[in-house]
């Protein structure tokens, strides 16, 4: 079971998938591609991992435990 968290005004919107379930996996992969097109940044976090354990990812890995989508940054 994997979960994607997309940061937004609600805190985050989640998309979950199961490796065994093609429909949920394909939907999650489609969301991943949409977020890439928006130039957001994906970090895969292993189960129980901290920020330093996260890894920047550019392709959807259905075996990932958690993927957090953040935005590009700019000077404020």
């Amino acid at each position: 079971m994997g979960i994607m968290r997309i940061l937004d005004a609600t805190g985050d919107t989640t998309v979950t998938w199961s490796v065994q379930d093609a429909a949920t996996r394909e939907r999650a992969e489609a969301v991943f591609e949409q977020m890439l097109k928006k130039r957001h940044l994906a970090f895969a976090v292993p189960e129980g991992g901290r920020a330093e354990d996260a890894e920047r990812v550019r392709t959807f890995d259905p075996d990932a435990a958690e993927i957090i989508w953040v935005r590009a940054i700019q000077g404020g």
Partner: protein, 150 residues
């Protein structure tokens, strides 16, 4: 079988269950069932803070709970996240700068801002300092990049 038209697929450690419809127009589709205890209303701030805390190490978490700030050590010095428009940066002994960096786009709950900056700063610190506007303590603001990251 869980019910007349639901088949058990997988149970997760946190109590969630993956179920599959076996009959009707939803046959073959799956649904995630959450424990009743999961249905606690969280404000966007609380939800964002829950996520942020999962990414902090024990020292950072303790600092966040007591001061709503936490520090990150990078190759280029220490950064203190927690104050919008006033991020502390100590590139070396006796040198302090204040930075302003934000996620692009619509406003996020404040802990999400720190989650966003924490992940980018941890994994691409040079980029963080390249886009940060900066000032000396009590000084005027300058546009990015921070000195040394031109």
């Amino acid at each position: 079988m869980v019910g007349a038209d639901l088949q058990f697929v997988e149970r997760f450690e946190d109590g969630r269950q993956l179920l599959r419809f076996t009959e009707g127009v939803l046959a073959g589709r799956t649904v995630m069932a959450f424990p009743e205890s999961d249905f606690i209303y969280l404000s966007p701030y609380e939800r964002a803070e829950r996520l942020l805390v999962t990414l902090l190490n024990p020292d950072q978490e303790q600092a966040w709970r007591s001061t709503k700030t936490f520090r990150i050590t990078t190759l280029y010095g220490t950064v203190e996240l927690g104050r919008i428009f006033d991020i502390g940066y100590w590139p070396g002994a006796d040198v302090e700068l204040r930075l302003c960096v934000l996620p692009q786009g619509k406003r996020l709950p404040e802990p999400d801002i720190w989650t966003n900056l924490l992940l980018v700063l941890t994994h691409d610190p040079r980029h963080f300092f390249t886009v940060a506007n900066w000032r000396r303590p009590h000084g005027q603001w300058y546009r990015a990049p921070v000195p040394g990251f031109e």
